[in-house]
Symmetry: D2
Subunit: 339 residues, 4 copies
């Protein structure tokens, strides 16, 4: 059994991660930690775990966590904190899968602009691998530090990658209208996310200024081999979990839908967690609820390509993808513990 | 136009109160205040009010509010704060309708036990009138200080008053299982009421220890002319607004349902906001959503009387009832601005 | 008191209409009808109306409704049914406000394509006025037959009208991503809209093929004086009521945001129910919940104009707008009964 | 791999059952059937299963299902249909786990009263075992026909069993106020369960007349060795899944809470899916969401015992419990596939 460490156990992604790891037949959690006032059983924080994982959670010292024998450390930490934790594990040869944004953006000035602070760990940033297995499976195999993708970017990039990889030069307009559930905002007290504010409500936010836009741009540009810049507009809708992205693409010489769907199916033929829908069918977020799938539906309307992508933001958009990355890094079956 | 003052404008009850007062043909809001960091337009806090009420809201001095000419002050303030504000208005001859619990419990030791602090305004407490118009219409007419009832007590007392007033001596068991929406917990940041914690969830809380239990006991005992003690168990369910109480009463010589329903209809024949349902019909909270009604359905099952009561916790359970009290105090039509 | 008739009283729009009319100081409902199995009190169908409107509802003959003296007939009927009812009222000089789509599309071939049936009432179609008061106030004044706009078109057209009226020639791309609540689908049994299917879910539907697209195109084209064709993509999100449209516009020589906002504020300066937000602020659907407002926020992002529009689909998107039209037709204050 | 058959695959319990069986390491689904118009891939009905189970679902003949080699047949069928299917499997030596109510009530007159039809399969009814593993583990081991308990009874009986088994003679009052999610009503078109009717709403129904009451009475009476009759009042709240029961018990000589909790912990010490909470703690339905646990919290308030029980109605209240029963019948680990 591979021992693993979870830092940031009390957030929504930390909690989902723990649940996935507990069901995974090849791993064992050796330590969990979080920023909490006093040590507490994780099952007192999340009673769902009562009798399943009653381990204590506290603000463990990194060295003590390392002593538990963990070979992989999952950092489900806030942005700006991960980059302080990661080097300590890496220096001891412990691989890191970071669920924060700290090692995603290769451009440190973009990082500073969107995350409000200079990057403190540039040496490791250079070696980090963007952990989207559908694009970087080979690199992930040998990676020591995985930057686990953001939730929106996972849905957006998977929705666009086949098209971008083939037709980048023809694209004349590229807009992503995204809708997310509330867990995306993290587990914390915040009036804006009180049930009484969210239920029977919806809103757009950070229009064109969301921190996930440069992440999407970076990956699509790499795929395209040229600079790509999307207009990304996120919305909050009253669900706990789930992301639906609607991508609008105007393109020179628009192909037939059937051709597009074939392109997508071919592109993802070895990807166990992407499901491309047949013509005329489109995914709903419930189809991927609590699962690691990204479901994609494609059509052409009024001359534009419209691509609908759905993920569970906490699974394929965070913790499930982290486990998928671990599977690849460790030579486990890619779907192990995730189906 | 009667000028009125609203203290505590930024909570859910304050906001509902403002909306009701704005639609009321006989009154005009002369001042609003709240505990906020800096003065702000109320319509910036609640954009729903944009163009309707753009008045500034700040931490006004009570004397300044008085100078606006308000003749009635609504205190939509937290418990323990109201009793500090009320005397200042009362001393100037301004009537007070207090939506907090501060003037509801005549027994100050019960107040101290349930609200965690000694009562600071006992002289006015002695003269306060419990503002449940269905029971105290006459006293409300002449009152200077109204203790506006709690949300749960409104539903519970109205569900039980006719029965208690006739059969108190025969009652052998009295349990109220109550279910409420989230606005009952107030407008504030609190992880427990985050959408991600509340949606797809429900729970019981303060079982037998809720601060509204002594309020229900006090009023039912007064009606009964003898000591009544209920077992009161509240639950949180994922709605924004709405209370449903299910009262279970075991009684010596249980009457027929038809007789009970007649008793209730007679009791409430002059009450414009209580609707007693015909035999076999029961209210749902949507039937009173955004309204000042309390709807009541009654049946007998397995030898016990079961009474279902529904209110909108922010209207009949708070702000609507406050306006109803104002109407009575000022000689307006009781339903003015509320239908 | 003006007598009015409501046909289609048992749907969500019929119900909202009744509630608005009951609060309206200038009108009185003289007859209500609906397709139901047997006559029933409207308050038995909607207990919210108990004691407020206990009138019977049944499949009244049109001639009997006319005999009640109604001067305006509201048709909250399904598409294809309204065009059979309307002529009977019109022939007797009774004005008609039709909430269905039957008199909206001037192009009968588009009607046939999107509503699956040839138009049966072309003579009246020619004289119908599209009841969007912000555009057609003068025509509405003298109209005998109002085609009350669809819910999506109301939000979409109001979001785009000022821009289109000034810059139609410069527009290079025009996409509307719309999100709606469930009442938009009508009040009927349908597994797809069961709570268990809708809660914790969202989806896109009728991508580029929704029947409201030609309605939007027709009105924007009329405003522009040239042919306009939008890409319109609706989504279902788990709210009961509320529409949020996000419009994306690419334009030659994009103006400054401040200039755009000024354009919008000027355009709507006489429109009591459109609120244009200041720079940096965007509406949420809760800001217009249960109200007749359309709230609009505007920004520029990545070189495109992004416009967020919010309405309550049952009020400004249907019944509130119908009352607003009635107010204009009858010389009442435009906001009468709606604020 | 043990082959199993699922009849009634298109309902919510059928769907959950399929998902549980797919994750179970010891079994393989050999046939699925349902009442549908034409054969369809189960993954077209539930896209969540795309690529996981693409087996066709149709109205298979029972004999054809038997030919697939299934050794256990799960009947997730409507009441009254199961008793027609079951004998065919049983006659061939195929064990049956019936999720309907058809084999739960030993008293056929009660069956007829509550399910509206005489019982058609009395010979097998006599041998059926009530599949609540916490009470009947030994009998389940050797059973050929399991009557899988109802959702409410599972929560209610587990909440009361320890107390009833020890103190039945002392009980003076016994009321169960239950709250359930919408999936309990099944997967079908029904206006009453439309999202627009359920969200922001709650209601009581079948007060004292629900078909699960006799089931609870039967099992509690068996435990008590004397006749027990509860007052059972169910409520619908706006969640998809989850049941919370609040049981109120008045008892002669009420024990201390600590003693009660000890009684419960002892009673369930070998039950892997019942978690008894420590004093002062109470479960929420989210703690058992998507899990096979029944969580129980106990307190004493105003002299009555109050017991809060939570289950996921589709898992411990239906399909998870069915799998638990299968595990016991087949000698698998009781928790296999369920943790």
């Amino acid at each position: 059994m591979l021992k693993v460490i979870v830092c940031g156990a009390t957030g929504y992604t930390g909690f989902e991660l723990i649940k996935l790891l507990l069901k995974h037949p090849e791993v064992e959690i050796s330590a969990i930690s979080a920023k909490i006032e006093k040590p507490e059983r994780i099952s007192d924080i999340f009673p769902e775990l009562k009798g399943i994982l009653d381990m204590h959670c506290d603000e463990m010292k990194i060295q003590d966590m390392i002593k538990t024998g963990g070979r992989i450390a999952f950092l489900a930490l806030p942005h700006r904190v991960s980059m302080e934790f990661a080097p300590h594990f890496l220096e001891k040869g412990i691989k890191v899968i970071d669920l924060s944004a700290d090692f995603r953006l290769k451009d440190t000035s973009a990082y500073e602009k969107y995350y409000g602070q200079g990057h403190k760990c540039k040496e490791y940033l250079a070696t980090s691998v963007y952990g989207l297995p559908e694009l970087y499976n080979d690199k992930i195999k040998g990676a020591k530090l995985i930057a686990n993708p953001g939730c929106y970017p996972t849905a957006a990039i998977l929705s666009l990658a086949p098209l971008i990889s083939k037709k980048a030069g023809d694209i004349k307009e590229l807009i992503i209208d995204a809708k997310t559930g509330v867990t995306g905002a993290g587990r914390k007290a915040n009036l804006a996310f009180n049930f009484a504010e969210v239920a029977e409500n919806m809103w757009a936010y950070k229009i064109g200024t969301h921190q996930h836009a440069p992440e999407i741009d970076q990956e699509l540009s790499a795929l395209a081999g040229q600079n790509i810049k999307v207009l990304f507009v996120p919305h909050l809708v009253p669900v706990k979990r789930g992301i639906l992205t609607t991508a609008y693409v105007k393109i020179k010489k628009c192909p037939a839908v059937s051709e597009l769907i074939k392109l997508y199916k071919d592109f993802y033929k070895s990807a166990p967690f992407v499901r491309v829908y047949d013509e005329g069918k489109f995914p709903q977020t419930k189809d991927v609820y609590y699962s690691n799938f990204c479901d994609i539906g494609i059509t052409i309307a009024e001359g534009r390509i419209v691509i609908v992508g759905c993920i569970d933001n906490l699974i394929k958009g965070a913790s499930g993808q982290a486990v998928q990355n671990m599977n690849i890094m460790c030579g486990f079956k890619e779907t192990q513990g995730l189906l």
